[in-house]
């Protein structure tokens, strides 16, 4: 079970580091921490409450956290905020109920994580940062 977490899709996504870096003029910047290990993501967004123009992140974490951050970095630019919120919900449903993701099929790479409760937070950390960033962007 533990070994299955580290299949090629997760390793490749983590290594690609899509979206790694910083924005020149972010509209929103949030930091999120995993208290278990001290992992941290700093996530920046530019755009409107309806659509994301640009996203960048600086992620210090395990492969699962880095893969999740990279996936966000790949998919978020140009996406609607509604689409991003749906992706966050899809990931939570995948981890808690095993529901396959339809909007972001790449989330399927995290399916083996469902069986390891202690690692859910690793995958969720970047998505929680994204949710908080969207809240701020939308003025909630």
């Amino acid at each position: 079970m533990s070994e299955r977490l580290y299949d090629e899709a997760i390793l490749a996504e983590a290594k690609s580091q899509a979206g790694a870096g910083a924005l020149e003029c972010p509209a929103v910047r949030v930091e999120a921490d995993n208290p278990l290990c001290g992992d941290r993501i700093t996530l920046e967004l530019a755009g409107s409450p309806a659509r994301i123009e640009a996203l960048a992140h600086r992620t210090r974490g395990c492969l699962l956290t880095r893969a999740a951050a990279s996936l966000i970095g790949r998919r978020a630019p140009g996406a609607s905020t509604a689409d991003l919120r749906a992706a966050i919900a899809e990931l939570e449903a995948l981890l808690t109920a095993g529901t396959p993701a339809e909007r972001w099929p790449e989330l399927a790479m995290f399916t083996p994580v469902r069986a390891v409760r202690s690692r859910h937070d690793c995958v969720l950390l970047p998505f929680r940062a994204l949710a908080e960033a969207l809240d701020r962007l939308e003025g909630r």
């Binding site: 533990s2 580290y6 290990c37």
Partner: protein, 403 residues
Amino acid sequence: MSPSELRAEFPIFAARPRPFHYLDSAATGQICRAAAQALLGFEAAARANVKRGVYRLADEATQAFDRARAEIAAYLGVRDAREVILTSGTTFGLNLLAHGLVGRLAPGDEILLSTLEHHSNIVPWQLAAGRVGAVIRAIPVTAEGRLDLDRLDEVLSRRTRIVSVTHVSNVTGAVSDIGRIVEAARAVGARVVVDGAQRVPHGPLDVEALGCDAYALSGHKLFAATGAGALWIRRDLAEELPPFLGGGEMIRRVSFAGTSFAAPPHRFEAGTPPIGPAIALGAAAAWLAGLDWQALAEAEAALTARLLAGLAAIPAVRVVGPTGTQGRLGVVSFAVDDVHPHDLCQLLDSRGLCLRGGHHCAQPLHDALGLEATTRASLALYNDASDIDALLEGLEWAIRRLA
């Protein structure tokens, strides 16, 4: 007792599928048969509240509870068992002391901790200090992850009222020189508290001879059940301290005009205590006290040396803590270049290796060492060379996979 006979005294090793290499005893020790039997025996066939009922079952429970207190006192070298308070664990004990000791401080008084501390020996003092305006200071560590007592004068002052330090680091395994700390603290009139959570699983001790005023420990690290621990407080100090929690057996007389409190240890044992786990803790202490600890200490030192030598031979690995076996116990943390501890521990799990990755509730120490997190292998009396060899082989495999 041979290593295999010793291992047979811990039911988990027969219960788990193999391979099973448990190297996380610094977090939780496995329960020994004596403690498991005592726990089940009480909960299934002898369960009643203590210090209340007069019927036979209740009286037997009270006697078993008092016997556990005496067995723990004997393990700690405490002559008067009434100085031992039964708690829920080290964290509770340290919170009790922080509440009682800090309430008497004046603004500007100082509490001296150390950079080695577990969060449970930092946060209770911070919470209490904030209420009275006391100041927290910390003994620094050396690059080897030991207390830097040569710099004690820089942080100890005439305003220091309390010194609270760990006996053994839960990250580096370094053993603190409590005698030297006590001597310096006494010179400025400070009380000394010791977090013994990591020391007690490595053999009986004499806390009175250490010279400190209080010593806290957890049962789950001493091969007993979760949920019980003990706190020794030197009698003169215990009698000065106010209650921590109210209710139950900690009272002498209650009226709306005012309440008076029982003498220690009951003053600090509010509510129904964790009776079964405390009885299990007593049983574990009694069983452990009968072992040959000189032989066990030699075996642990040999395993620690084997582990340190193996880690030193892996280029990507850096040990965080003493690289020798002097003045340290079998708690060994390390960092691996470009590999996150949680990824490493997860992959090692697939080989039956149980290790802890993270900051081990010691973020100030990790900050001081320039690390976010480390991987920790911690040894106990049931480990043998096969555990170390499996870890070293697994490490090389996992690093190839992850780096």
